[in-house]
């Protein structure tokens, strides 16, 4: 939908202007690369002076970039002149930070909202435009007589609603919203955010939300981009980035947010003196150039993991599965880097042979797992045995066989794909939860045993993931790619336990606060 490559902007620095001659140019944006997909919502966060507002205006060509390219809907708009841009303007709209300043004080609300319809010729006449405006005002929750009022007669939240109505009046494909909730009370803010989410869902608008408030971005956006001094420091899906921010600046920003809970250390610690993560980083490992071995690749997270590893620049990926036929397309898609391998992790001879054969592995990803979808009591014993053999003994065999390989190759890392159910039993999936709990314990033990040889052992605890295995679970479910990316982010930063997705993070926080209460809540999901 919108793509920027190396977008740069320099503006004259009036403060440094010599007495005679032009003011020198000061770079505001340095080579921004970004994309916004149709219907997607991207959050741009950063502190004041990071260039986020300037970028927002650049994206809509309110400023003309001084470098790079900007493509909107297949059209290069980088150097377009205003007359050519004009027809496109209706498809990209902006909601401004200060509704008081962006609404004409001498016009009635309905006229303000009708204005773009008339300007772009989207309404037959004044009457039609005004009645459309009343409809739009109702759409944003301003019923009744608001259309006849003037901006100063409205509250801040109501004025912001008018700004939204004006932006959606022309049915845009892209809306840039610049700090539209800063300065509003939390209650009003919650209303505006709910309205935004509703419009985004109903109208399929792509949204760029510029905000200094990471909590707001986390609630509204799919992806987030962190800016500092005119450059992008980090970008990624919200779930993965917030679970494991890789850039120190992002971490500093997150730590600086005062969450509404008591934490005496927050105000006493010196900022970013984070010993724990520094220690972790010592074992952190680059994915680029690594040689990975992934089990259970023919579906779900395993498949996406191979793709994520390839994108992240792994030198070689051994993709293994019981049925190797399903892997042909993976091998084809990623050229010579993916080598497929038939392997059943419950066949310990086969596991040993694989370790023998793949002596160059530096990153082991234990992903293979099965789920009988049964409660503990009354379940089929054979199925339960298969769960333990695959989920627990299979992982153990793999760790055991590959530990010496990893040791020889400088330590490396092991990633065990667990589940949030490894931390608390969900009775409906009782036997699966129990087998994964064993594997969680295994992860802890192996981590301790392999610490000496410098192997990082990561446990990945996602919530429900959108795979065949969890087909019967209700939405919302995590896209498997997000889980794969979060797991790799954890390896890159040396994080030992990572909870992926809202549900898993919520449960983890709950367990830390009151494990018994969480257990009680899970107990309500009894098998039918």
């Amino acid at each position: 939908m919108l793509e920027a490559r190396g977008l740069a902007l320099a503006l004259p620095d009036r403060a440094a202007k010599p007495w005679f001659g032009a003011a020198p140019l000061r770079p505001i944006l340095n080579g921004i690369d970004m994309t916004v997909g149709a219907g997607e919502s991207l959050g741009i966060v950063g502190e004041s002076g990071s260039g986020k507002t300037t970028l927002g205006r650049c994206l809509l060509r309110l400023y003309k970039p001084t470098g790079g390219r900007l493509v909107f809907d297949g059209t290069d708009i980088t150097d377009m002149e205003e007359p050519e841009l004009r027809p496109l303007r209706a498809r990209m709209q902006m909601i401004f930070q200060d509704p008081q300043a962006s609404l004409n004080p001498r016009r009635r609300i309905a006229q303000i909202v009708a204005q773009p319809l008339l300007a772009f010729g989207l309404a037959a006449d004044r009457q039609a435009a005004l009645s459309a405006a009343h409809g739009l005002l109702e759409r944003v929750g301003l019923n009744g007589g608001y259309g006849r009022r003037y901006p100063h007669e409205l509250s801040g939240g109501q004025r912001q609603r008018v700004g939204i109505a004006r932006a959606i009046a022309v049915k845009p494909a892209l809306v840039v919203a610049d700090e539209i909730v800063s300065g509003l009370d939390v209650s009003t803010q919650a209303q505006i955010l709910a309205l935004l989410a509703e419009l985004k869902r109903d109208l399929g608008i792509a949204l760029v939300l510029i905000s200094h408030d990471l909590s707001v971005v986390r609630v509204v956006c799919d992806r987030v981009m962190v800016m500092q001094q005119g450059s992008v420091v980090e970008t990624g899906p919200c779930a993965a980035l917030f679970a494991a921010p890789s850039h120190p600046y992002t971490r500093t920003l997150l730590e600086a947010i005062p969450l509404p809970e008591i934490d005496p250390a927050w105000i006493e610690d010196e900022p970013s003196a984070d010993v724990g993560s520094a220690e972790g980083r010592a074992r952190a490992m680059d994915i680029e150039g690594s040689v990975a071995f992934v089990t259970g690749c023919n579906r779900g997270i395993g498949r996406e993991m191979v793709a994520a590893l390839a994108t992240a620049g792994a030198a070689k990926i051994y993709a293994s599965a019981r049925h190797v036929e399903g892997l042909a397309d993976l091998a084809a898609a990623h050229g010579g880097r993916v080598e497929t391998l038939a392997l059943d992790v419950t066949d310990h001879g086969g596991v040993a042979a694989a370790a023998q054969k793949c002596g160059d592995v530096t990153l082991l990803i234990n992903n293979a797992g099965v789920n009988a979808n049964r409660p503990l009591i009354g379940g089929d014993m054979a199925e339960q045995r298969r769960e333990i053999e695959t989920n627990y003994l299979g992982t153990l065999a793999m760790c055991g066989a590959f530990a010496p390989v990893l040791g020889r190759n400088g330590g490396g890392a092991i990633v065990n794909m667990l589940t949030i159910l490894s931390r608390v039993n969900l009775p409906a999936l009782g036997s699966y939860s129990a087998s994964k709990a064993a594997t969680f314990s295994l992860t802890q033990g192996v981590r301790a045993q392999l610490a000496g040889q410098g192997t990082l052992v990561v446990g990945v605890m996602p919530g429900a993931v959108d795979t065949e295995m969890s087909a019967h679970l209700p939405q919302p479910k995590l896209p498997p790619m997000e889980v794969a990316e979060a797991a790799l982010a954890a390896v890159r930063q040396g994080i030992e336990s990572i909870y992926v997705g809202e549900m898993a993070q919520g449960v983890a926080a709950g367990l830390a606060a009151n494990a018994t209460e969480v257990e009680k809540q899970f107990a309500e999901y009894l098998p039918q």
Binding site: E47, D213, L214, V219, M503
Partner: protein
């Protein structure tokens, strides 16, 4: 605990409109007391009533404000001025408007010291340098020669904190002192305020709309709505088990990056209306009682 500030049933009107409708609030020595509420709840007016800097249309219609045993409401203006700066001071919200743009920082700081403590020119300058060091300004000598516009928002706020603590007051009102700052700067400023407050044993009434900030810096909290305190307690108690429906509603409306799954619920309209009605009914009952 000794109470530094005691507000008892404070009623205040601006014109005919009731703004405070019986505020009860006690700030104890050496504690940070958070006063949290949304815009229009009256939280800023509480602070201004204490300092005696109310807008001209505002009138205190009832109640008592006692500071260290002194009745502030019936205190002559001259005596009140004697307290300001020396025994109680303020950290304002907007550091740009609080500093005079045409005077250097040095002049603005030494004026306070010379006036309040009766220091000489040289002694005041020396003390100003010490104060700037205390608020961790790296080159105090240079900053003294600068004008407010030459400083960043965080630096300006440091200067104002230095000035608020200048005369070693027993009590400070901090009115949204970090609202205009970036989160990283906010953390540093909060840390600074907390440290100075603990070192000097100063009591602070910390006015804010941000529950997060309250959780981090306050010992006690009062939640204000439509001119009345709806809930008050220790911070640990209020954040663990909020009691009043309005406090709970505030929590439900606050977005948290660590709990994105929580649905944000605006404060329900019925609740707001009910609280307003309660407050109005309370007003009415008081008036009837007085006339009876």
């Amino acid at each position: 605990m000794r109470a530094v500030l005691d507000i008892d049933d404070l009623h205040l009107r601006i014109g005919r409109m009731p703004v405070l409708r019986g505020v009860d609030l006690t700030v104890e020595a050496g504690q940070v007391h958070g006063l949290v509420g949304e815009s229009g709840a009256g939280k800023t007016m509480v602070g201004r009533a204490v300092l005696g800097i109310l807008p001209s249309a505002a009138r205190i219609t009832d109640g008592h404000v006692t500071f260290a045993g002194i009745d502030l409401i019936n205190l002559p203006a001259a005596s009140r001025r004697g307290l300001l700066g020396r025994r109680m001071s303020m950290i304002p919200q907007d550091p740009m408007t609080a500093l005079n743009p045409v005077y250097r920082i040095g002049r603005q700081l030494t004026d306070v010291l010379r006036h309040s403590l009766g220091l000489g020119r040289q002694a005041a300058r020396q003390r100003a340098l010490e104060l700037l060091e205390q608020v961790r300004i790296a080159e105090p000598g240079r900053v003294l020669r600068q004008y407010p516009h030459e400083l960043s928002g965080g630096m300006r706020q440091r200067v104002l904190i230095a000035s608020a603590f200048a005369c070693g007051p027993e009590f400070i009102i901090a009115d949204e002192p970090t609202t205009a700052l970036d989160v990283t700067v906010q953390r540093e400023i909060l840390r600074l305020i907390r440290k100075l407050q603990q070192d000097k044993g100063t009591a602070i009434l910390f006015v804010t709309h941000d529950l997060g900030v309250v959780a981090k810096i306050c010992d006690r909290v009062s939640v204000i709505h439509s001119g009345r305190i709806v809930e008050s307690g220790t911070a640990s108690q209020l954040f663990a088990v909020p009691q009043h429906p309005y406090t709970k509603a505030l929590f439900a409306a606050t977005p948290r990056y660590d709990r994105p799954g929580n649905r944000l619920v605006p404060v329900p309209r019925q609740l707001t209306l009910r609280l307003l009605e309660d407050a109005a009914a309370y007003d009415q009952r008081r008036r009837m009682l007085r006339h009876a």
